[in-house]
Amino acid sequence: MDPNQKYDPKLFERASRPEEDSSEVHDTGLTFWRDAWIQFRRNKAALLGLIVIGLIIFLAIFGPYFNSYGSDEQNMSRSNLPPKVPLLEKVSWLGMDGTDSRGVDQYEVKGIDENFWFGTDELGRDLWTRVWEGSRISLYIAFLAAGIDLIIGVIYGSVSAYYGGRVDNVMQRILEVLMGIPELILVILLIMLLQPGILSITLAMIITGWVGMARIVRGQVLKLKNQEFVLASRALGAKDNRLLMKHLIPNTMGPIIITTMFTVPVAIFTEAFLSFIGLGLQPPIASLGTLVNDGFKLLRIYPHLMVISSVVISLIMISFNIVGDGLRDALDPRMKR
C-alpha cells in the first residue's frame, strides 16, 4: 500500500461526473417550431379548428365528386328538395329526412328515389355539389388574397424598417393615407370599376389588405435589426439582401403566419359581403357568399338553402379564428403560461 494514501482506493466509488455526461447529447433540442407545435397541440379547441379546416379543404376539393350531379345541372322536376341523408334521416330534429317546413316529404310527392344530401335549389341543382364548389372558390379567393398580401406586406414592411430614415418616413406616410381609407368602401368602389369576378375581387381585397401585414413586419424588423446576431452577420460581410432574407424575415415568421391566419376569414367575409350587396360573383360561378345570398331570398320557404351554406361559411371562419388564436398563443413567447 502506498504510504501516502491513508485509505484504500477500493473503498471509493466514483461519483457520476456531470461534465462527462453533458458532452453527449441525449435528446435533440427543442427547436422553435417543435416547441410551438407542442404548445399548439395542448390547445384542444385550436386542434379541433385545424381538423375542421382540413376536412373542409378536403371536401372543397373532392366533395363535388362524391355524387354525379354537376353544379350547374338544372332539373326543374327536382327543384327545392330539402336535404335527405340515408342514416341521418332517422334523427328528426336534424331536418335531414327530406320533409320540408310544412312536414311534407317532398321526395315522396315528387317521386324521387335519389338522395340529395344537402337538398336542391330552386333550379333543381344539387346543393352538396354547389356548396363545396362554392367553398372551393371562396377558399381560393381567400388564400390567393392572403398569399399576395403576405408577399407585398413582408417586402414593404421589411424594406421600410430595414432602410429606415427617409425611406421609412415616406413609406410610412403612404401607409397612413391608405389606412385612413375605410377598407370595405374602397373594395366596393374598385369592384364597381373592375366588374365582379374572381380576379377583380381578389385584387380589390389586396389593394388595402397588405397594409396590416406591412405594419406588423415593420415593427418586428425594427425590433430585430439592431440585435447582435444581425451585427455579427454584417461583420462577416453579409449583404442587405442576405440579412433580410436569412435573418430578419425568418425571425418574423411567427407574427407573419398569425396575421395570415386572420386574413383568410376576413377575405372570405369580404367576398360574401360583396355578394350580399349585389357586387359578388356572377352566375354560373358560385361562391359561399352568393349561395348564402341566394338562400336568403328563399329563407322563409326553404330554410335549408341558407342554413347549410351559412353553417359552412361560419365553420370556416370560426376555425380560422380559433387556429389563429391558438397559433398566437403558441408562437408568442409572452403568452406562455
Partner: protein, 308 residues
C-alpha cells in the same frame, strides 16, 4: 401637443383629398352613364348632361366638385330627379346613427360584462364559455346572423317585428345583429386587459386597504382596463358602418347604408361619391379623436412631437 394636432389635421385633410379625388376619377372611368335609357333621344341626353354639368371637361368638373364640396354641396342625385345629395344624407343619417349608437352602447355593455366575468373566473368553465361566445360573435358573418335572427325570432317565433323602422321594438333585432361584433371585440379585449390588471401590484394595495371586492374590481380593475378599449373604437366604427349596409338591407331600414347599397345598384354616382366621402370623413375623424383621447386618458402615452 399643438404641433402634433396641427400636423394630424393637415394629414387628415390630405387623406380626405386623396379619397375625394380617387372616388371622383373612379366615377369618371366607370362604364355606363346614368342616362343610358334607350328611349332618350340624342338631344335629350345632351340636355341631361348639360343640366348635371357632365358636358364640361373633366378637370373643370373636378374643380367644380371640389369648390362645391367646400361649400357643403355634394351635387344632386341622378336617381331621385335632382334631389341634393346632402339632403339625402341628412335625411337618412339619423336612422343609421340611432342604430349604430344603440348597437355600440348595447354591445359595449354586454361585451364588458362578458370580458370582466371571463377575467375574474380566468381558466374556468365560465371563462371558456365567454371566450367561445366571443369567437363565435367575431366569426359568424353579420348577414348570416341577421338573416337567421330575422327568421327565427321574427318569422318563426313572431316575437318581434321582421322589418321596417316604426318604433323601438323595430330596432331590437337589428341592434342585436349589429352589436355581435362589438360584443365579441370588446369582450376579448377587456378580458386580456383585465387579466393583466388583476395581477398588478396596485390591485394588491387596494385589497390590503380593505376595499370590498366590488369596489376593488370596479374602481381599480375595470377603470384601468378600459383605457386601451378606446383604441378599438376605430375598427368598431368601421364595422358598424359596413354592418349597417347589410343589416339595414336585411331589415328594410331606411338608413344611409340601405341608400348606399341602393345607389350602387342603380349607378347613382353623386350619391355613391357623397356617401363614400361622408363615411371616410367619419372614419378619419374617429381615428383622430381616439388618438387624442388616448393621449389625454393615459399620460404614459407620449404623442410624437409632444409639447414641453
Amino acid at each position: 401637443m399643438k404641433r402634433y394636432v396641427i400636423s394630424r389635421i393637415i394629414f387628415m385633410l390630405i387623406t380626405l383629398l386623396i379619397i375625394i379625388s380617387f372616388t371622383f376619377f373612379l366615377m369618371q372611368t366607370l362604364p355606363g352613364s346614368p342616362f343610358n335609357d334607350e328611349q332618350l333621344s340624342e338631344f335629350q341626353r345632351e340636355q341631361m348632361n348639360e343640366r348635371y354639368g357632365l358636358n364640361e371637361p373633366v378637370p373643370k368638373q373636378y374643380l367644380n366638385y371640389l369648390t362645391n364640396l367646400v361649400k357643403g354641396d355634394l351635387g344632386v342625385s341622378f336617381q331621385y330627379d335632382g334631389r341634393p345629395v346632402t339632403g339625402i344624407i341628412k335625411e337618412r343619417i339619423g336612422t343609421s346613427a340611432v342604430l349604430g349608437i344603440q348597437s355600440l352602447i348595447f354591445g359595449t355593455i354586454i361585451g364588458l360584462a362578458l370580458g370582466i366575468i371571463g377575467a375574474l373566473y380566468h381558466n374556468t368553465t365560465i371563462d371558456y364559455a365567454s371566450i367561445i361566445i366571443a369567437v363565435i360573435g367575431l366569426s359568424i358573418p353579420n348577414f348570416v346572423f341577421a338573416g337567421l335572427l330575422q327568421y327565427w325570432v321574427g318569422v318563426k317565433l313572431e316575437w318581434l317585428p321582421v322589418a321596417f323602422w316604426r318604433g323601438f321594438e323595430y330596432t331590437i333585432l337589428p341592434t342585436i345583429a349589429l352589436s355581435m361584433f362589438v360584443i365579441a371585440t370588446v369582450a376579448r379585449y377587456i378580458r386580456t386587459e383585465m387579466i393583466e390588471v388583476l395581477s398588478e401590484d396596485y390591485m394588491l394595495t387596494a385589497k390590503s386597504k380593505g376595499l370590498s371586492r366590488f369596489t376593488m374590481i370596479w374602481r381599480h380593475g375595470v377603470r384601468n382596463s378600459m383605457i386601451p378599449i378606446i383604441t378599438i373604437m376605430g375598427p368598431l366604427v368601421v364595422s358598424l358602418v359596413t354592418g349597417t349596409l347589410i343589416v339595414e338591407k336585411i331589415f328594410s331600414i331606411p338608413g344611409l347604408g340601405d341608400q348606399f347599397v341602393d345607389s350602387i345598384l342603380t349607378n347613382d354616382y353623386p350619391v355613391i361619391m357623397g356617401v363614400t366621402i361622408f363615411y371616410s370623413a367619419l372614419f378619419i375623424f374617429v381615428v383622430f379623436v381616439v388618438d387624442l383621447l388616448y393621449g389625454v386618458l393615459d399620460p404614459r402615452i407620449r404623442l410624437s412631437g409632444g409639447d414641453k
